[in-house]
């Protein structure tokens, strides 16, 4: 059971990583990072059970908190930089799109 869960989570992590690599927009990457963070929390939990060290669930809690703060910081950054771009040259507003 735990092994199945671990494998499923690992595969999902790989998929999320692929999305982060492909992009194409900034928001896709943020989405991928957020997904990746959630999966990390899950994997830590599952691995804690697999190792028999359930006292390490605190770590999962810490990861969840940090992940949330990270995503918030990213959004703050995106918002602020698009605000800057708008004040610098109001004509452009496709700032979110940075297709490679």
């Amino acid at each position: 059971m735990l092994l199945v869960a671990a494998i499923a989570i690992l595969v999902t992590m790989a998929l999320a990583l692929t999305r982060a690599l492909l992009g194409p927009s900034v928001y896709d990457r943020v989405l991928a990072v957020n997904m990746f963070g959630t999966k990390t929390v899950l994997l830590i939990t599952v691995m804690a059970f697999m190792m028999g060290r359930t006292d390490f669930l605190d770590l999962a809690l810490a990861y969840a908190l940090i992940n949330f703060i990270g995503v918030m910081a990213v959004l703050w950054f995106v918002q602020e930089s698009s605000l800057r771009q708008q004040t610098q040259n109001p004509a452009r507003d496709d700032s979110g799109n940075d297709a490679q």
Binding site: M1, L2, V4, A5, A8, I9, V11, T12, M13, A14, L15, A16, T18, R19, L22, G23, P24, S25, Y27, D28, V30, L31, A32, N34, M35, T38, K39, V41, L42, T45, V46, F49, T54, L57, D58, A60, L61, A64, L65, N67, F68, V71, M72, L75, V78, Q79, S82, D93, D94, S95, G96, N97, A99, Q100
Partner: protein, 111 residues
């Protein structure tokens, strides 16, 4: 009794895993950002809840379950919030859903 509990736990965890996987595939295969976030976010809430719920059943009524419940609660709160804020920011920044301006094609693959 314990076999039934184990079965329930296993079932919950495996169902959760299916959702988690589905979310991953959705985030990868969907054609544009809004469909991707749709695929990823819904499963991102349900999948972990099911997996953690399964583990809680497994652990029984102990401190472990309380910690798992805390993690679950936290994920249930933060994940939708992050999704909302992300979609909102994307929309405000002017990212258009696929098909509004041009037809639905695969996003171009980078080298």
């Amino acid at each position: 009794m314990s076999e039934i509990l184990d079965l329930i736990a296993g079932l919950l965890v495996v169902t959760g895993c299916v959702f988690v996987l589905a979310g991953g595939i959705g985030a990868l295969r969907m054609p544009d950002f809004y469909t991707r976030i749709h695929g990823a976010s819904l499963t991102d809430s349900l999948g972990p809840v099911l997996v953690l719920g399964g583990l809680m059943v497994n652990a029984g009524l102990t401190l472990i379950s309380v910690k798992l419940a805390a993690v679950m609660l936290l994920l249930m709160v933060t994940s939708p919030t992050a999704t909302y804020a992300l979609a909102n920011a994307a929309l405000l920044a002017g990212l258009k859903p696929e098909g509004v301006e041009h037809d639905t094609t695969e996003p171009e693959k980078p080298a």
